[in-house]
Amino acid sequence: MEESKELTGWLERVLEEFHGVKVQRKAARRMRIDIDADALPALLELLQGRAGYVHLSAISCVDWIDDGQFELVYHVLSYETGTLVSAHIRIARDPGVYLSVYDLYPPAAFFERDIHEMFGVYFEGSPDMEKFILTEWDGPPPMRKEFDTRAYVHATFDWQQYDPEWLREIRARGGGIVE
């Protein structure tokens, strides 16, 4: 659609005026924007109000433990053009705190709550930061890279003892396929 190409071209020109923005066209309907954490709410407001990106598809959190940062990705979609814009920001891992975008996009409440209990990132201004899925979990936030789920499982749970006679016979014979 010619209209859509014009629209996204206009968008790209406007985005260049933001400081520290890197825009990348990844595929036909995918755009990646890397931006400073402070500038994100303004970007989202611009996308929603002026460019018609009314649908927040997801907010993802990626744990870059070697860099000491969390990467938050906001995926917003425009129904008219069908383009998805992913806005990537980085926040420091240690006081993992950021602003909530609930007043712009109400679906953000679910994702922020989910990221809070899985990663430990606190979103200021989010309506509900209570635990949702892990209400009876009192360990560290499980999606962080330092949490080793296998070690936890071996420490907490027992395994079934299964030693029937037919299996012992097979082992005594040195293993192999039974006819």
């Binding site: 892990l134 027992d158 079934q160």
Partner: protein, 245 residues
């Protein structure tokens, strides 16, 4: 494989059933009751996990388990079989234990899908339980991921044979070794874990009180139980009389 071989192969620590009471005619009535029980089982359909999607085909006309006398039932108070369909998240395990203890004895547990046996697909998961029969006694496991409706019905038929032969006595094992089960539950949920059902009193009533019923873990129950307190101010306008009640 013969039935006996299957029982030998799966080594579930269930003690052999003994008829309650000492009357010489107890055995006869027990056989009759077991015969009738096996033919009229109510299934508590609590969809605890993935395997629940193959239950409607097993219940409806194509594979029809109602011809075996098995019917779904919504409330645990009238159900015989607790069907643990699939993996058990730790949050769900608490509700399964509460549900299990609400069911009237004799009650049977079937663990469907491989996740109840030994963790299955989610063996690395921090949120699922690996070995179901250390938290509550399991009478039958049906392996698969997920088992076909024919496999579910074959497992139910095997359970019916087991009930009729008087060997499905997992529920008695729960009373006889309650301390061991409670210990495992408390290890997972914390020392304050308790359910509203008084298992020890029920064990005494059913004459299934054994040396394994009380122990270190059941003593924690008394410690953390809170007595009922009456309200200090009137409720709904009720006036307190002289005795203060």
């Amino acid at each position: 494989m013969a039935d006996k071989d299957k029982d030998k192969a799966i080594d579930i620590p269930v003690t052999a059933g003994q008829p309650a009471g000492g009357s010489p005619y107890a055995g006869v009535f027990d056989r009759l009751f077991d015969f009738c029980r096996a033919r009229s089982l109510f299934l508590l359909h609590y969809c605890t996990g993935c395997g629940a999607i193959e239950l409607p085909p097993a219940m409806t006309s194509r594979y029809d388990m109602e011809r075996l006398g098995i019917q779904p039932m919504a409330t645990p108070r009238q159900a015989d079989i607790l069907l643990v369909t699939g993996y058990v998240a730790t949050k769900t395990l608490k509700r399964i234990l509460l549900t299990y203890e609400q069911m009237p004895a004799p009650r049977y547990v079937i663990g469907i899908c491989s996740c109840t046996v030994n963790g299955g697909m989610y063996w690395q998961s921090y949120a699922t339980v690996k070995k179901l029969n250390e938290y509550l006694p399991v009478d039958m496991y049906i392996a698969g991921c997920m088992p076909r409706p024919e496999a579910v019905i074959a497992g139910l038929q095997q359970l019916m044979d087991k009930i009729e032969a008087g060997r499905a006595n997992g529920w008695q094992d729960y009373y006889r070794r309650y301390d061991a089960y409670l210990g495992k539950q408390q290890a997972l949920f914390g020392p304050r874990w308790q359910t509203p059902t008084d298992i020890v009193a029920e064990a005494r009533r059913f004459e299934l009180f054994g040396p394994g019923t009380l122990g270190a873990h059941t003593s924690l129950l008394d410690q953390y139980q809170q007595p009922l307190e009456l309200p200090s101010e009137p409720v709904f306008g009720r006036q307190k009389d002289e005795s203060g009640r």
